[in-house]
Amino acid sequence: MEVLSFLASGVLTALEPINLGLILIGVTVGLFIGAMPGLGSVNGVAILLPITFLVPPASAIIFLAAIYYGAMYGGAISSVTLGIPGASTAVATTFDGRPLALQGRASLALVTAALASFVGGTVATVFFSLFAPLLATVALNFGPPEIFALMLLAFATFVGLGGDDIPKTIFSICFGLVLATVGFDTISGEPRLVLFDIQGFLRGIGFIVLAIGVYGIGEMLWTIEQTRGEITTTNPKMTVKGLASDAKEAVRRGWKGTWIGSLLGFFVGVLPAAGATPGSLMSYGVAKMVSKTPEEYGHGSPDGVAAPEAANNSASTGSMLPMLTLGIPGSPTTAILLGGMVIWGLTPGPRLFIDESEFVWGLIGSFYISNLAAVLINLAFIPLFVWMLRMPFTILAPLIFVLSIVGGFAASRSMHDLWLIVIFGLGAFFMRKFDYPLAPAVLAIVLGPIAEPTLRQSLLLSSGDPAIFFTRPIAGPITVIAIILILLPAIKLLRRKGRVATS
C-alpha cells in the first residue's frame, strides 16, 4: 500500500495553507473563466502562467490545475443558462442543459452538472492514483490505427442512434468534416481549402468559433423566432430546499450518464490525441445509445447533462496522465501546463514519478481537494446564475450576442473569426429550420482533425492496405464494433421489412 502513503502525503501537501489558498482562488477564477463563452481553460491557464513563477513549482501547478478544473465546472454554466457553450468541452452540455433551462429547470441542470463533474473528477483521480504507470503504457499502445478506430466509433455512436433522420445526420457529419479540412494539411505539408484566398482560413476553422456561432448566435435567433421575444424563462425562487430536491432528482435521473461519462471520459482523456472535448461528445453519444429513453435526449434529459459534464472533468484529469508520465499533452491546456513544467525546471516523462514524486503526489492530492472545493463553490453560485435567467429575453438576447462576439474575439483576437461566428450563426439557424441536426456537424469538426491524419498515417504505415484496422489487436475489435453500430439502423430496417413480408 505504498500508493496510499504517497497519496496521504500528497493530500497533506495540497492542504498546506498556501496550496489550499491557491486551490480556492484557482477554482473560483476557473469557474468564471469557464463560464465566459469563448474563454476556456486554455486561455485561463495561458494568461495566468506567468503569475505562477512567484510560488514553488508544486504550488504553481496545483494552482493551474485548479483553474483547469474550475473551468470544466464553469463551462456548463453558460451552456445551460445562455445556451452558449462556455468552453469547447461544454458543447455537449448545451444539448440537454439548454432545453432544461427553457423548461424552467435550469437549477436542476446546473446541479446535475456540478454533481456529475464532481463524480467524474473524483473517479478519474482515483484511477489516476492507482494505475498511472499502467495506463501510460496503454496510451502508448494506441498508435494511429487505434486512434482512428476510436474516432470511427465516436461517429458511429452519433449515426447509429436511430430516431433522428439518418440521411440528414450523415449530411451534417459530412458538412462538419469538410469544414474540418480547411487550413493546413499536415500530411502533405500544404495549405488547402483556403476559401477565397482569405488568410484567416490558413489557421483552419476553430472549433470554438463554430460552437459559439451555432449555439450562441444560432440559438438566439431560433429562440427569438420561436417566441417573438415574449418569454422569460424562469424558475423564480431558489431556496436551499429547492437545491436539495434538485440534487436528489439529479442523482436519480443522472447517475447513469455520470458513470458512463466518468469512465469513458477518463479513458479518452488518457489517450494523448484526444482530450476533454471528444471525450464529452463521445460520452453523450454513448449515454444516449444505451439509454432506455433515448427520445428524451436533446429535450432535457438530466443524463444528457451528466454524461458530458462527468466526462469533461474526468478527461481533464485523464489528460494530465500522458502529460506527466510521457511528456505528451493530452489536450491544448495540458500543452501549456507542460510548457510551464519545463519552465519550472521539471522534466515530464517516465522518470517524473520517480525523480519528483513529491511534486507528482502533491498534484494528485490537489485533484481531490480541488474537486471538493469546485463542487461546493459551484453549488454556492448556482442561485446567482439562475437569477440571471430571470431577465426577460429581450435583455438576454442582446447579452448573448455581446458575449458571443466578445468571447469569440477574446479567444483568438481575430476579426476573421467574428465574421465566421456570425455566418455560422445564420447558417445554423437555417439548418435548424430545415430540421438538420447540428450536433453531428459539431462532433465532426472536433473529431475530423483527429480522424483524418490518423487514417492517412495508418494507410501510410500499411502501404495502403485497409486491413491494418482489422488485424491489430486493439484496433480490430473497436473497428468491428463501430461498423456494426453504423450498420445497425440498416439491419433494423431490413428486419422490419422481413417481418412485414412474412406476415
Partner: protein, 322 residues
C-alpha cells in the same frame, strides 16, 4: 508664478540633457501599448515554450512598461504568423518567435509574397540541434547498425516526423540521400506526438530536438545514434555527429525573436536591449543548458547575413526533397 514654472521647466530640461549619455537611443523609445508577441507555431511546441518562457522572465523581473502578449499563429505552417508580421499595422509593437518555418514556408508557399530578409533582426536566443533516435528495444546502438537495418528492411523502415518540408524531414531527406536509404516517412502534427509514437514503437526512429526526447532518453527508452550538430553536444558526448561520418551537413532549428518589417530603429534598439538582457540572465542560460540549445549570439548585420545564407541553403535543400 509664471517665472517659477518656466524656471522649473528649464531646470527639468537642463537636467535631462545633462543626464543624456550614450544609451539615449535605447532610452527614448518605449512601447506605448501591449506588444504583440506572435508565435509561429501552435501551443505546446518548442517555439511556444520558448516564447512563454521569455515572456515570464520579462514579467517576473518587470522589464517592460507594457506587457508582451503571446499569441499562437501557427496556421499554414507559420504562414499565418509571417503574413501577420508582413502586414503589421504597428510594426513597432509586433514581434515574432521563430522556428525554421521562417525560412521554409516562404519558399514552399511563394504565393504569400513574404520576403523574410525584410524582417527586423532582434535577438538570436539560440539554436536547437537535431538528433537521430531509436527505441531501446530495437537493439540498435550505433549509426552503422541503423544504416544496415534500414537497408535490410528494404523500404519498410518507418520513421515519423512533423511533415514534409518541416525541419526533421529535411534532415531525414539529406541522410537518406547521403546513405541511399529507402525510408517510409509518417507525418505527425508535432514533435511531441512523434516522440510518443516512438516510445510506443508505432514508428522505428525519429529525428527530434533533444528537448522533445529528453524524458524518454533519461528513462532509458530512447537511444541517440547521431547528432546533426557541428560538434558533439555537451549533453550527449558519446553521440557522433554526421560531420564526423564525413558528410558536411549540420542542421539547427532557429530560436530567434524577430520584428516586423519596417520597425523603427529606436524600437528595434529597445527590443534588442530588452531581449539581450533576457538572454544574458541566469534563467535563460539555465534553460539553454537544460534543453540542450546551443548559443549563437549575433548582432544585426550578422543576423542578416545568416538569414541570407539560411534562405539559400533551404532553397537548395527543399529543391532536393521535392
Amino acid at each position: 508664478m509664471k517665472l517659477s514654472k518656466r524656471l522649473f521647466l528649464g531646470l527639468a530640461v537642463g537636467s535631462t540633457l545633462a543626464t543624456l549619455p550614450m544609451s539615449a537611443l535605447a532610452q527614448d523609445w518605449e512601447p506605448t501599448r501591449p506588444v504583440d508577441f506572435t508565435i509561429m507555431a501552435g501551443s505546446g511546441g518548442g517555439a511556444d515554450q520558448i516564447a512563454r518562457f521569455v515572456q515570464s522572465v520579462v514579467e517576473a523581473n518587470d522589464m517592460t512598461n507594457r506587457p508582451l502578449i503571446p499569441t499562437n499563429r501557427g496556421g499554414g505552417s507559420g504562414a499565418e504568423a509571417l503574413l501577420h508580421l508582413k502586414d503589421a499595422r504597428d510594426p513597432d509593437h509586433t514581434l515574432m518567435v521563430t522556428l525554421n518555418s521562417f525560412y521554409t514556408t516562404p519558399i514552399r508557399q511563394e504565393g504569400l509574397g513574404v520576403d523574410v530578409e525584410q524582417f527586423t533582426p532582434i535577438t538570436m536566443m539560440g539554436v536547437d540541434p537535431f538528433v537521430l533516435w531509436v527505441h531501446k528495444d530495437s537493439g540498435i546502438t550505433t549509426f552503422e547498425q541503423y544504416i544496415e537495418t534500414v537497408r535490410e528492411m528494404n523500404g519498410e523502415y518507418v520513421m515519423g516526423g512533423t511533415g514534409s518540408g518541416q525541419e526533421d524531414s529535411i534532415v531525414i531527406a539529406y541522410m537518406s540521400g547521403a546513405y541511399d536509404l529507402d525510408i517510409k516517412y509518417i507525418p505527425y502534427d508535432g514533435g511531441g506526438a512523434v516522440a510518443k509514437d516512438l516510445a510506443g514503437q508505432q514508428i522505428m526512429a525519429t529525428v527530434n530536438n533533444p528537448a522533445e526526447a529528453k524524458g524518454f532518453y533519461e528513462a532509458g527508452d530512447f537511444v541517440p545514434l547521431l547528432a546533426f550538430s557541428d560538434e558533439r553536444m555537451d549533453a550527449y558526448p558519446d553521440v557522433p555527429t554526421l560531420k564526423e561520418k564525413g558528410h558536411d551537413f549540420s542542421y539547427y532549428n532557429q530560436r530567434a525573436i524577430v520584428g516586423a518589417p519596417g520597425m523603427s530603429d529606436q524600437a528595434a534598439a529597445y527590443y534588442r536591449d530588452l531581449f539581450g538582457k533576457v538572454y544574458e540572465g541566469d534563467d535563460w542560460q539555465t534553460y539553454l543548458v537544460s534543453e540542450s540549445l546551443s548559443p549563437l549570439p549575433m548582432d544585426e548585420a550578422e543576423t542578416r547575413a545568416y538569414w541570407a545564407t539560411q534562405v539559400e541553403n533551404h532553397r537548395k535543400l527543399l529543391s532536393e526533397i521535392d
